[in-house]
């Protein structure tokens, strides 16, 4: 039995943000995540720090929240943000009235906006369509959600919080209106253990409905799947938004060395097997190329899909459901120490954490103020190998003769794999190729893992990390994880790449016939 003040369920940006907020107020927390950090929507979105301009028509309040939060984050977490600026552009055929009303709507929500000439727009972003009819400049930016969560979590850990990854909430024990404890299952050992807390916070994103029902509460969840695709090189300097009511594939966000195009919005019934489809990819490209024509012919490296956890109290559907967050105290449902926070946007994760922590602290009678709007987010060193270009420059810079590359596309060397393996082993776990892939850029380049997964497996055998037939299972799981994001993108030259991959893995190694 473990005791703590607060048990936070969910290791996305919101959960990690709450852990940091509470720990800065002196509250002892434990965070539990059923997979790895950022497994849900935090790891599968645009990485866009909204200026708010996208929401001015439908939800001016959410728009102005975005602006305020964006300003705070740019000041306090600059290492997670690339301050790119953004454009809103309309093309021939788009609603001209919406375009004309746009500056006034922005003004009403207090969102800074500047009308620019088409010539200026082309100078800023030469890849824009020549069928542009109007353009505005706004304060959009791109943000790295992976670093954001990890840095929040690290700061929380440094302030005395604890976390359990790959650990699932199995149920709660209750006494009248009060949750006494939660039962957690360690997915590696399969052991169940009990955590007793004063307050329980449900920040499980798309899984919040499931957690609520385990606690005997109810959240009217609607799951909206969004698919995005990543180009192999960066196309735009600034965020490019389509100037119209929010629709499919109308945002192109630059991030590091790539650009990300999306999204779609499709309601789905269950959370199993969330994967992008080739039809969605075709739709995204055909819409995206109306703003930026070269999107038709550029090379894409990966597609992915996330689920927006929306809460719907009425009978709205699709994009009409509010993208704003929902904070529930569940007192009307007969529970006094359970809080759910869901919906919302990455841009407002800090505000969501603050509001949740406020409610939680009020119940705990803790009067310390929120500090996350004034104390900078410390930058953590660990797990920064995911930054595009970092492993390449480190490897070249170190110039160590023994440190050869396992992944030539993304320049991941043996020593980088060693450091990740060491970190995972120190947490008492056996590293998998998938986990190494999450912490480095292994398999993210043009071979999509065909060569590097095999080489890394061979290396891990040599290091004694893999035994028996584990390597085959590892390679198959790693390749299938990459395949999930690559398969929908196979349209032209990519066919050749798949053929090469199959020639090795199936024709030579016969891995499809091993039943592991």
């Amino acid at each position: 039995m473990i005791e703590t003040d607060v048990l936070i369920i969910g290791g996305g940006a919101t959960g990690a943000g709450i852990a940091r907020d509470l720990s800065l107020r002196g509250v002892k927390c434990i965070l539990v995540e059923q997979q790895d950090f950022n497994n849900g929507a935090t790891g599968a979105n645009h990485g866009l720090l909204h200026s708010g301009a996208r929401y001015v028509a439908k939800d001016p309040e959410a728009a102005s929240e975005c602006r305020v939060e964006g300003e705070i984050l740019k000041k306090l977490a600059p290492h997670c943000i690339e301050n790119t600026g953004g454009l809103f552009v309309a093309v021939e055929g788009d609603d001209e009235k919406y375009a004309a009303d746009f500056p006034a709507m922005c003004k009403r929500a207090d969102i800074p906006v500047k009308s620019i000439s088409l010539k200026e727009a082309f100078e800023m972003e030469p890849s824009l369509s020549d069928r542009l009819i109007s353009a505005y400049y706004v304060e959009d930016s791109s943000i790295d959600p992976f670093r954001l969560t990890l840095d929040n979590m690290n700061d929380a850990l440094n302030n005395g919080s604890k976390c359990f990854r790959f650990t699932k909430v199995e149920g709660f024990s209750k006494d009248g209106r009060v949750i006494k404890s939660a039962f957690l299952r360690d997915k590696n050992t399969n052991n169940v253990f009990e955590v007793r807390a004063l307050q329980y916070i449900n920040a499980a994103g798309a899984w919040a409905g499931n957690i609520a029902s385990l606690a005997g509460a109810y959240i009217p969840m609607v799951y909206s799947k969004g698919t995005l695709i990543i180009t192999s090189s960066r196309i735009n300097k600034r965020v490019i938004n389509r100037l119209r009511l929010a629709g499919d594939a109308d945002i192109l966000v630059p991030g590091g060395t790539v650009s990300i195009l999306g999204t779609t919005s499709v309601e789905i019934d269950d959370l199993d097997n969330i994967r992008p489809t080739s039809r969605e990819v075709d739709l995204i490209i055909s819409e995206g190329m109306k703003m930026v024509p070269c999107l038709e012919n550029v090379r894409y490296v990966r597609s992915y899909a996330g689920v927006r956890p929306l809460v719907c109290f009425g009978e709205k559907a699709g994009r009409k459901i509010s993208r704003n967050y929902t904070l529930m105290d569940h007192e009307d449902q007969g529970i006094d120490n359970f809080i759910s926070i869901t919906g919302g946007k990455l841009t407002t994760y800090r505000l969501m954490a603050e509001k949740t922590s406020d409610l939680c602290c009020k119940r705990l009678k803790n009067t310390n103020p929120c500090l996350t709007d004034s104390i900078p987010l410390p930058e953590s060193e660990g797990s920064s190998w995911t930054m595009p270009g970092k492993s390449a420059s480190e490897w070249l810079g170190s110039n160590s003769p023994k440190d050869t590359l396992l992944c030539e596309c993304e320049m991941v060397s043996k020593s980088m794999v060693d450091s990740v393996v060491k970190e995972i082993v120190s947490q008492g776990r056996t590293p998998t190729l998938k986990e190494i892939g999450l912490r480095t850029r292994l398999g993210k380049g043009s071979c999509q893992g065909a060569f590097c997964s095999f080489r890394t497996a061979a290396y891990l055998y040599d290091c004694g990390v893999l035994k028996n037939e584990e390597g085959i299972k590892e390679i198959k799981e790693f390749i299938n994880e990459r395949w999930k994001g690559f398969m929908p993108l196979i349209r032209e030259k990519e066919f050749a790449q798949v053929e090469l991959q199959e020639a090795f893995l199936c024709n030579l190694f016969g891995l499809e016939n091993s039943n592991i």
């Binding site: 396992l406 198959k476 020639a503 030579l508 190694f509 016969g510």
Partner: protein, 444 residues
């Protein structure tokens, strides 16, 4: 660039992978004046084995110890498979003819006439194949004779772990162990590359010390497996020399890309084809293929040095699939870029790929390709022969999945054999009308 010259051939083979080489071999043995044009890029990744049939993915049969029984299963499930066009006896003759050529070129193969054998792969799996390079066949023998096997690992050689191989071979009850040695020869940027190592062993001074290091590593084992790095041109001599020095059988395990066994095939088979009188043009660009007034194919080929006009009575396209450039796709529509030969598209409501990369059935796209008549002449959308003198061979053909079936070389050899036999018979019949009039009704 040199002046444009015009050259006339009985047959032009486009493609220099297994199917292109096999077509040229069969044609040269039949006295057909042949030119081969191609890139042979696919061979860079070849294992050196000649597969016939290992699996039938549609019915889920994945372990044919007898490939001939496998062919019955295959044709029952998939009656349009390229193997439909040749009797088993003739398939055996084709294999014998082609492996005879490989032997003459210095790449001898072994196998059992009624059974598949296997090679040990770097993943520690056993790959079934029909004809196996002698250098790898020793591994099959060592396993069968229950010898104690030592796998030699080389420090710094990526993608080859003796531990991985031994750990995975345990489940077959194979008694093997591994030891690591340092490679005595050159290293470039401290990275070992199999092709450089092979050069170094053959041309440089690495062989003796390499052999000594292996000798020191051996304890009580009685067969030695090493990564395939024993030279390129003299590979069989070098292996014999190593066996004498160790007084033990030595076998090679194919390595990951770029492989030495592929390089050996490319170098030696093409050299031998040249000796057999085939005109070879590698790395040339082919410009639009047309028909002249004599109904012959006419096109130009050019590289950095010269440009030639080629006239050929018959044409075999053996350009491979997407990797070889024989097929291309535009927004998921598949086409054949050289002559725009008809390719039947997969049904639009079907997914081209399975959501599991390793799905046992294989991916639908792999079965898409050129449909042909029984002589491997491409058919158009109305099931009519596209051109009397146009043939296709190898993986570009439809209704097969060579990577899952383990039938790549077999399809290349069978289709080349049938196509070349057909066009050589039509040559003897002077006008060819007799041979080809008969099949119009059977075209589909």
């Amino acid at each position: 660039m040199k002046e444009d010259q015009i050259k006339t051939f009985e047959l032009a083979v486009i493609g220099a992978g297994i199917a292109g080489i096999a077509s040229s071999v069969f044609a040269s043995y039949r006295g057909i004046d042949t030119i081969m044009i191609g890139r042979s890029s696919g061979l860079d990744f070849a294992s050196g084995c000649l597969d016939l049939l290992g699996s039938e993915p549609l019915s889920g049969k994945n372990d044919f110890s007898n490939p001939w029984e496998g062919i019955d299963v295959l044709l029952n499930v998939n009656p349009f498979h390229p193997y439909r066009n040749l009797s088993k006896d003739s398939i055996m003759s084709a294999f014998n003819e082609f492996s005879g050529f490989m032997s003459c070129a210095g790449l001898p193969l072994s196998g059992q006439s009624r059974k598949n054998s296997f090679i040990i792969t770097p993943a520690g799996t056993l790959k079934k194949s029909f004809f196996i390079p002698n250098s790898m066949y020793e591994g099959f023998c060592a396993v069968n004779e229950k010898k104690k096997i030592l796998i030699i690992s080389i420090k710094g050689l990526k993608g080859f772990s003796g531990i991985q191989i031994c750990q995975n071979l345990k489940k077959y009850g194979i008694d093997c162990t591994t030891r690591e040695i340092e490679f005595p020869g050159i290293k470039i940027n401290n990275d070992l590359n199999c092709q450089h190592m092979a050069w170094d062993i053959e041309m440089g001074k690495a062989f003796e010390s390499f052999a000594s290091k292996i000798k020191t590593a051996v304890k009580n084992e009685n067969a030695i497996g090493i990564p395939a790095v024993l030279g390129i041109y003299q590979s069989e001599n070098l292996r014999a020399k190593l066996e004498r020095k160790l007084n033990l059988p030595v076998f090679e395990i194919p390595t990951f890309s770029p492989s030495v066994q592929g390089l050996r095939m490319k170098e030696k088979l093409i050299q031998k084809l040249k000796e057999n009188g085939v005109n070879i043009n590698l790395n040339s660009k082919i410009n639009s293929i047309q028909k002249d007034k004599n109904n012959d194919f006419i096109f130009s080929i050019e590289n950095n040095f010269h440009k030639k006009t080629i006239i050929a009575k018959n044409l075999i396209i053996a350009t491979g699939r997407f990797f070889g450039g024989g097929l291309q796709a535009e927004k998921r529509k598949v086409f054949e870029p050289l002559l725009d030969v008809y390719i039947e598209q997969p049904k639009p409501d079907k997914e081209l790929f399975e959501s599991d990369f390793f799905a046992k059935s294989g991916h639908l796209i792999n079965r898409c390709g050129i449909k042909t008549d029984r002589y491997f002449r491409p058919l158009n959308s109305k099931n009519q022969v596209f051109d009397e003198n146009l043939f296709s061979a190898g993986s570009i053909l439809s209704d097969q999945d060579w990577k899952r079936e383990k039938s790549g070389s077999g399809i290349g050899i069978v289709s080349s054999y049938v196509a070349v036999s057909a066009l050589s018979r039509s040559k003897k019949n002077e006008d060819g009308s007799c041979l080809f009039s008969e099949n119009k009704e059977n075209a589909a």
